[in-house]
Every structure is written in C-alpha cells, then in structure tokens.
C-alpha cells in the first residue's frame, strides 16, 4: 500500500495551500476532494483581502483568477420601508497590488488545484473521506470510501462543519452558536451594466453589506458583491439566533423578502439567476477550536473555526490560506524530526499565534457577543431610519427645527442605560 507524507481532506483554500507548499518541498501529498473538482463544493460570500497574504506565496495570488478589485465599500441599514446607506471609497483601494478582490470559489479553487498538480501534488476528486484511521490513539491515515490511505499526517481541511475534527475528538458536533448559514444567489449581468449601476470603472468592484429589518432582531445580514459578469447576493443567519426566535418563516423566505426590498431590487434588475447555493460560516466566538492539532493531525481554515465577523467586514479565506501555509511549515519540520506527535505538531498553533491569524482572532474574540445583540439588527437601524424620515419629511404643517428633531431622537434612542451598555459592548469589535 502506498504511503503519503500527508493526506489532505478537502480541496478548499486551506487544504490546497497546504498541499501546494508541501509539494513544493518535494513531499508526497495527496488531496482527497469529494466533488468533481476542487471548488465544486465550495462557496464564498465574496471577497479576499490580499494584503495579509503577502508574506504567504504573494507571487501565486497575483496570478489567481480574481473577479474585481474592490474600490467601494457600501453599508446599508434597513428600516421598515426605509434605509440609510453609507459609501466609502479611497484611492488606496485602487493601488496595485490590490487590497481586496471579489472571487468565485468554483473557478478559484480549481485554479489553485492545478497549481498543486504542477508542483507534483496529487489530487483525487470524487473521493469522500468517511473516517480517520487510528492506531494506539494516534491518527495514521484516512478511510476514503472503502480504501485505507496511510500518511504521516492528516490535514483536516473539510470546512466549517468539519466531521474530521469531530472524529479526531478535537471537538464535539458544531454548536448552533458557532455557525451561521449563508444562502446565496449568483446573478448574471453584463459587465457594462454592473459598472454603470454601481459607478465603477472596468475591473473595479463594490462590496455592499446590509443589516437591519431584513433580519430584525436576528444575528445576521445581507451581502452583495460585484464579480466580473455576475453578482453574488446573499443572506447570512446565525443558527442559534434563528432557532431561538421560534421562526414562523423559513430561511429561504427571509432571503426572498430581502431580495424584494427596493434597495436590492434595482441593483439586480434584469439579471439572470444562474446558481443557488448554501454553506455554513463559522462564527467563531470565544473558543472556535481550542486545539487545532492532535497526534498525526492538523486542522486548517474553516474546519478550525478560523473565521471572523467584525460586523463591517467578514473574513475567513485569508485565515484558511495562511493556516494552510503554516500547517505545511509544521509538517515540513515534523518530517525533518520524524515526529508527528501532538506535542511536536503544537508548533502549528505557535505559528498561528505569531501570525495575523491568531492575533486577529484574539483581538476580535468577543466581537460575536457584541454582534449577537438583537438591538443591532432590531432597534438601531429602525431608529436611525425613523430619524431620517423625520429630518427629510416636509409635511402639511410647520417644520420643526432639524436640531430639535435630532436632539429628541438622540435623547429617546441613545441617552439611556440600554444604549450605554450596547456602546460598551461595541468596544469589543
């Protein structure tokens, strides 16, 4: 039976980056992907931030199939039948190399898979891993649809749900609080229409986030990213928050209501729906995966819960790529030492801690608690929009002074104990 230096479970960004680095070092690495090709089971909201990746294979990402360079950041607060939109742009977003680009995972991951093969890594598609092989409490390989494959180390890169992390005993089943479900549509639209509608030049893109009345009182929000000739429109709902609300509507109905908002309708008008997808998003929280390693195993990317919701930005893919890179560095050194025990593989966590991955995770460790606050999607957007209505509306009677309207609004909405507590919570983001 053939034996590999490393077997990677899952052809996503973390797994493929790890495989790429190991193959580059001349190691025997095998990626098992259950879909038709790497990327065929993967979904993104949207966008990749490229700057954090510069220490990790920068030449590689410059040649990647990127959709549009994001130059516009837009946030919309939705009230009932009203909304407030803020838009930010900067010349810094137009600089090269790009700050952030939109991507689509089916083509992106497929491309990365090709790069792995060029370096001599093996990718076997249509192969599902059903179990881990264990001997004397250490992991020695995987069982892939009846076939046993041995390796010095298993890289669990099987996404947010990570059944591998569960089978390795590194965590129990993913808890509702630590995951959100994302629903997404890919809508085809001519590039010129996208550019005109969003006020972009060719190659430039917009990132648009929505929160408020679309998911009132629920932890979640909407997103819209512009790709080359498509839009990615989606809705994210925290699973625990959704269940607890004893919903009377289904997730896809909330999505349809979101799509029906006039703020969205005019942006997607004339577009053709070409794909409907859904995926889990790790929401982190205080302890995503306390120990992303074990005897003979490393866990990378979403599988390790390495994703961050900072409210105005949601990140995961850079963490997946960087963690895959650091897993490869760890495996390389483990190979030199001939030691794949948990105590040596703990080096992986040390590398993560020294990098932006764990530092960002640490900085925003409590952001989930702040964002879970139902008033963020319930009370505040509605309050802001009502205030907007009072300021801009000219009725039949005499108009009250603008300052007086605003002062009353602030007094009612912000000068109370609940708002002060919320403000203090926001320091965590």
């Amino acid at each position: 039976m053939e034996r590999f230096d490393a077997v990677v479970v899952g052809g996503g960004l973390g797994g493929l980056t790890c495989a790429y680095c190991l193959a580059q070092e001349g190691m025997q690495v095998l990626v098992l992907e259950r879909g038709d090709h790497p990327g065929s089971k993967n979904v993104t909201g949207g966008r990749l931030y490229l700057r954090p990746l510069r220490p990790y294979l920068p030449e590689l990402w410059e040649a990647a199939p990127l959709e549009r360079q994001v130059t516009k950041e837009v946030i919309t607060m939705l009230g009932e039948g009203s909304s407030l939109t803020m838009q930010f742009t900067s010349d810094k977003f137009r600089e090269s190399p790009a700050h952030s680009c939109t991507i689509l995972r089916s083509s992106f991951d497929k491309w990365l898979g090709e790069r792995v093969k060029e370096k001599g890594g093996f990718i076997v598609p249509q192969r599902r891993v059903v179990d881990l092989m264990k001997e004397d409490n250490r992991i020695v390989g995987v069982v892939a649809e009846g076939e046993e494959i041995r390796a010095d180390v298993v890289i669990a890169a099987d996404g947010a749900l990570s059944l591998m992390a569960e089978q390795a005993g590194l965590r129990g089943p993913l808890a509702p609080r630590h995951a959100a479900v994302a629903l997404k549509e890919v809508i085809r639209l001519a590039p010129e229409v996208i550019e005109e509608r969003f006020g972009l030049t060719p190659g430039e893109g917009a990132a648009h986030l929505f929160f408020g009345a679309v998911t009132p009182g629920l932890f979640g929000g909407g997103f819209l990213y512009t790709n080359r000739d498509t839009l990615s429109l989606g809705l994210v709902l925290g699973i625990e928050s959704f269940i607890k609300s004893k919903p009377t509507t289904e997730t896809h109905q909330i999505f349809e209501a979101f799509k029906g908002r006039q703020e969205i309708a005019h942006l997607i008008k004339g577009g053709e729906l070409i794909e409907y997808s859904a995926h889990l998003v790790p929401e982190g929280g205080t302890s995503p995966l306390a120990k992303p390693f074990g005897d003979g195993i490393l866990v990378v990317g979403d599988a390790a819960g390495l994703a961050l919701n900072m409210g105005i930005t949601v990140r995961g893919m850079e963490f997946a790529i960087a963690s895959g890179y650091m897993a490869a560095q760890t495996v390389k050194r483990a190979k030199e030492k001939g030691d794949f025990s948990a105590s040596f593989l703990a080096l992986y966590q040390t590398l993560l801690k020294e990098s932006f991955v764990q530092k960002d995770m640490e900085t925003f460790r409590h952001s989930l608690e702040a964002l879970e606050n139902p008033r963020i999607t319930g009370f505040y957007p509605q309050w802001v929009c009502q205030l907007g209505e009072q300021v801009f509306w000219i009725g039949e009677g005499p108009k009250e002074r603008i300052f007086s309207i605003l002062w009353k609004g602030v007094r009612q909405g912000l000068l109370n104990l609940a708002a002060l507590k919320d403000l203090l919570m926001l320091r965590r983001i």
């Binding site: 259950r34 879909g35 038709d36 990327g39 065929s40 089971k41 993967n42 979904v43 993104t44 689509l104 995972r105 089916s106 083509s107 991951d109 598609p125 249509q126 192969r127 599902r128 059903v130 892939a144 649809e145 947010a160 749900l161 059944l163 089943p173 993913l174 808890a175 509702p176 995951a179 479900v181 994302a182 629903l183 549509e185 890919v186 498509t230 699973i239 959704f242 269940i243 004893k246 919903p247 509507t249 289904e250 997730t251 896809h252 999505f255 349809e256 729906l273 070409i274 794909e275 409907y276 997808s277 859904a278 995926h279 889990l280």
Partner: protein
Amino acid sequence: MDPAAKLSIDIFKNDQEAHIVIRQEICRRCEHKPCLRICPGGLYSVNKETGEVVIEYKGCLECGSCRVACPLGALAWSYPRGGFGVQYRYG
C-alpha cells in the same frame, strides 16, 4: 421564487442512496423541529398521513445547517458519496 425552482437551476448528480436519514424515534420527541425552517432548499416537511418529518435529500445543497440545528441529534448525516450531490459552477 420558491426554493424548488431555484434548485432546478443547479447541477445535481443524484445518488440513489440517501445521505441524510432521519431517526424517527428521536425526531418524534422534538418539539420545535427547526429543520423545517432552517433548510435553504426547504427540503424538510411533515408527511400529513404519518406525521413524520421527511426530507427530499436529492435537492440538498450540503450546507449542514440541519445537522447543526437539530437539537436531539436525530439525523444520521453524511455528505453524499464522492462525485455525487450538488456541483457548484460558480460558488
């Protein structure tokens, strides 16, 4: 647009073997049945004759939200066999 119409746009390579099986003896004890509302494909429903929850596994987008949401662990849940299930062209 109802979810069935949306799913019809996607590419599925369906297996004859269900990858999600509901353990009815556990499911029966569940009061709120969040699976009926969380599934982005709207694939869970209650069979009017038997009163049991059933799933149309063939339109599954493999997100796993039902597995996370199921409070009693009533789902014998696995991904479809290699090469089967939804194949995203955009993602």
